[in-house]
């Protein structure tokens, strides 16, 4: 079945089993490999993308349900919030193995787009769905505050 949606601003059409999780369509069909697989059951956030501006766990989202939607992956991030987040991430060397960090960056960007100056509690709440097995949590929290400061100008 052909499904059409926008990915990172480009119209894409895929002809796959409509139950295929968006994650595997992004990776296997579109070769957008920045979005990662960690659990497949919406527990870890490694597969986080944005759909119409909201975070979405692509591992449990059948591709049929994004028909006609706008999807952004880490490759397509370009908002001021995203840039602030990525610069802050580099600025204090957040990543260790790095495997969870696409998802962390996607969640953090969505948070700052919604709430440009989050408190620790708000950060915890927004980021609790993203596991980092390397436990870079202290720096993730700090980097989000740093990015918020950049955005404030």
């Amino acid at each position: 079945m052909a499904i059409s949606f926008t990915v990172n601003g480009e119209d894409r059409q895929v002809d796959v089993d409509p139950d295929t999780p968006l994650l595997w369509v992004l990776r296997d069909e579109l070769r957008l490999t920045g979005t990662k697989f960690g659990c497949g059951i919406a527990q870890c956030g490694a597969c986080t993308v944005h759909m119409n501006g909201m975070t979405l766990r692509s591992c449990v989202t059948p591709v049929s349900s994004v028909d006609g939607s706008e999807v952004t992956t880490i490759e397509g991030l370009d908002s001021p919030a995203a840039k602030a987040v990525q610069d802050a991430w580099v600025g204090i060397d957040v990543p260790q193995c790095g495997y969870c960090q696409s998802g962390q960056v996607m969640s953090a960007t969505a948070l700052l787009e919604e709430n440009p100056a989050p408190t620790d509690e708000e950060i915890d709440e927004a980021m609790a769905g993203n596991i980092c097995r390397c436990a870079t949590y202290v720096r993730i929290r700090q980097a989000i505050h740093d990015a918020a400061k950049t955005l404030e100008g």
Partner: protein
């Protein structure tokens, strides 16, 4: 495989086999697309590139690429080893790049192992002089080339930030400009290295080489390798450890579009899909019958009871000083405890995966191999190809914590088996999180029993300690490291106490099960540090002594000065006065010394770790920022384990956890604030990937006892059904 002539030139003088690296994130995609992984990141620049030795490549565009022999999975060797080269080379940090070295033990062996591999927090210590010499050799050759070009004596030449200059004549040249000429210079045999006082980079902070690529999704992991006509394979595995396949029915699976093949293999049943989802669906549709006659059918509860009973015996003697039995008999007070530790899964963020492409008479492999030499040989053996027909690309790995270092190479063998079964073409073997959790290779379930004797004045006179656990090394190539039938990973961290105890005995009760066990970040120290440091805390409390002062009083100043140093430092950091809710622990592992104080809160009966202060002494602090990150990471990884993690087997021997919904991970709101202080030292650098973990667990348990009066006797502290 064809080697381009310019690649031959590139390799000149290295004595290397094929130098391969698809790892430099920016170049990885291009290299993959071209199908020429051998066209290394710097391959395009190979014309005129300078390869002074196996570790350093200097290109005409001024980039300096370090071939890192250790896998990068977050512990920082790309940055760490590049720092050592850059220091001796007097390079500018901005020109440094890192890539994974090819699999070739003749060039890239871990000098602590004799084979190529990473583990035991050895990456920095075993590379410290080697990489500095590599940088120093390159520098000497550049200087010699510059002396020729400038027509001046080499002794008058200076090097700074990637520029080679002669002040008197005002001439200068960049590394890139000198690369071609430097390639003609005879490499020095034993180039001198800098005095520590002249270090410009070592000991200071600079950005990690890989942070940007890891914040933009560009970093390439094994999962990200796609080859033309690649199939994805998943394996139906036995429901219990030790069960074997009786029969299977692939009919339904083969009807699923995209499922191209189902085949019985020694590990179970391999299902091949044109894409990941087809493989997933196909695997779910296979039905199988298993022979469980040789399977492990005990529950982990049953094992815990058996191990506990065994821990009440003496075990095989590991060490003994004085007469512990007599001292216990004479003691005024005897304190006895049993400490129980569950199986733990590593669950690295990236599940196990590998890509193998079979071609005519050769194969190329992409995987996050932690023991390249062992995996390389295992793959060659399974495929029936000579070692030199296998190209093994060490990929960035999404964590490991020990999981990717298996003596039996079970995963590499499985990947080679499914590739061979498929035949020519590329096959990606992917384990799901469920495969990972049920797949074994756990931190062994372990029980400690300790008895301590105090005299009337509260002095510790006896310490008797038996540890019941499986051997990690037995039956693997690492068995060679066992002496007298003793596996050091069972009791490391318990055999030698930093405390003066006149009568001290340690025994090991070796337990057996069909469950494969493995090193898990800090190995034996994961449980020995907890057992020793909580027991010491309890004995000091019984003697009415302060937990910090009491420990210091028992430490011989000379032998245990570094333990005492970190303990004093951490007590200062936390303003220690024996506060309620604070707990302390100190532990040496992998030649690094770490002390921590944890502040724990009681949240409706559940412990919450609010803050952790950490003092570390790891010799020369090459990259303070990386050291701090590893302490934070070790603390978080340890916090998850002490609070929440347990892998359990139910009645009949089924693993009860399937995914992160039931195998509970620490999340951001549970992460304590962490303060790290590095104790200054001139000693050679030691590792930091593991040593940050062991003291956390006992510090938290001690804090909880101080707060609530209750001592956790079984980990995790939050029972699995309440996590």
């Amino acid at each position: 495989m064809t080697i381009h002539t310019n690649r031959r030139a590139f390799l000149k003088g290295t004595g290397a086999g094929l130098v391969v690296g698809v790892m430099l994130p920016q170049a990885a995609r291009a290299a993959q697309k071209s199908g020429a992984s051998a066209a290394l990141a710097t391959g395009e620049a190979a014309e005129g590139a300078f390869a002074p030795n196996a570790f350093v490549r200097i290109a005409p565009d001024d980039t300096v690429t370090v071939l890192v022999k250790h896998i990068e999975f977050g512990q920082g060797p790309y940055t760490g080893l590049s720092t050592l080269v850059a220091e001796e080379l007097d390079a500018d940090w901005g020109q440094m790049r890192a890539t994974s070295a090819p699999s070739n033990p003749a060039l890239y062996a871990n000098t602590a192992f004799g084979i190529q591999g990473t583990g035991g927090s050895t990456a920095m210590p075993n590379s410290y002089m080697q990489m500095r010499k590599a940088g120093a050799a390159a520098r000497a050759m550049l200087v010699s080339a510059a002396a020729d070009r400038f027509g001046v004596p080499a002794t008058e030449i200076t090097v700074a930030k990637g520029v080679v200059s002669h002040e008197g004549s005002g001439q200068s040249a960049t590394f890139g400009e000198l690369a071609e000429a430097a390639a003609e210079v005879e490499p020095p045999v034993d180039p001198p290295v800098k005095d520590a006082k002249d270090f410009a980079l070592i000991g200071t902070d600079r950005p990690k080489v890989d942070s940007r690529a890891k914040s933009t999704g560009e970093a390439q992991f094994t999962l990200d390798v796609y080859r033309d006509d690649m199939l994805t394979a998943m394996v139906v595995r036995p429901p219990k450890f030790g069960a074997t396949l009786k029969s299977h029915d692939a009919g339904a699976a083969l009807k699923i579009p995209g499922v191209v093949k189902v085949a019985a293999i020694p590990q179970g049943i391999a299902v091949y899909g044109e894409n990941t989802y087809a493989a997933l669906k196909g695997r779910a549709a296979v039905t199988a019958e298993w022979d469980e006659s040789g399977a492990e059918t005990r529950s982990s509860e049953q094992m815990m009871a058996e191990w506990t009973e065994a821990a009440h015996g003496a075990g095989k003697e590991v060490s003994s000083t004085g007469d512990t039995a007599a001292a216990l008999a004479e003691a005024e007070t005897v304190h006895e405890v049993v400490q129980q530790f569950p199986f733990l899964a590593h669950t690295p963020m990236e599940p196990l995966d590998a890509v193998i492409e079979l071609r005519e008479g050769e194969a190329e492999v992409w995987m996050g191999s932690q023991l390249q030499t062992v995996d390389h040989g295992a793959i060659a053996g399974t495929l029936g190809l000579p070692n030199d027909k296998i190209t093994l690309n060490t990929m960035l790995a999404g964590g490991s914590f020990g999981r990717r270092a298996t003596g039996d190479s079970h995963f590499a063998v499985e990947a080679a088996t499914v590739a061979k079964e498929r035949g020519q073409g590329a096959t990606k073997l992917l384990w799901t999180r469920e495969d990972d959790l049920r797949g074994g290779y756990y931190r062994p379930l372990t029980v400690h029993r300790l008895r301590g004797g105090l005299d009337a004045d509260g002095n510790i006179t006896a310490w008797d300690h038996t540890i019941a656990t499986q051997s990690i090394m037995a039956g693997t190539p690492f068995e060679a490291m066992m002496t007298d039938g003793l596996d050091p990973t069972a009791f490391e961290g318990a055999k030698v106490l930093p405390y003066a105890v006149p009568n001290h005995r340690v025994g090991w009760a070796r337990m057996e099960s069909a469950i494969p066990v493995l090193w898990w970040r800090s190995v034996g120290h994961t449980h020995t540090a907890h057992a020793v440091e909580t027991f010491m805390d309890e004995l000091l409390e019984k003697a009415g002594r302060d937990a910090v002062e009491g420990r210091l009083a028992l430490m011989d100043d000379e032998t245990f000065a570094r333990e005492a140093g970190v303990l004093r430092r951490v007590a200062d950091m936390a303003d220690w006065s024996g506060q309620k809710g604070y707990g302390v622990a100190v532990h040496k592992s992998f030649d690094s010394y770490v002390a921590q104080i944890a502040e724990v809160e009681d949240r409706d009966g559940t412990p919450h770790i609010a803050r952790v202060w950490c003092a570390v002494d790891c010799g020369v602090a090459v990259n303070p920022n990386v050291i701090k990150a590893q302490m934070e990471g070790g603390i978080g990884y340890g916090a998850s384990a002490v609070l929440f993690d347990a892998l359990t087997l139910g009645e009949g021997g089924h693993v009860q956890q399937e995914n992160w919904d039931t195998y509970r991970m620490l999340r951001i709101h549970e992460m304590p604030d962490v303060q790290v202080s590095i104790v200054e030292s001139d000693e050679s650098p030691t590792g930091v990937g593991e040593p940050g973990l062991p003291p956390l667990s006992p510090a938290v348990a001690n804090a909880w006892r101080s707060l609530t009066g209750r001592t956790p006797r079984r980990l995790p502290m939050v029972p699995v059904d309440q996590a």
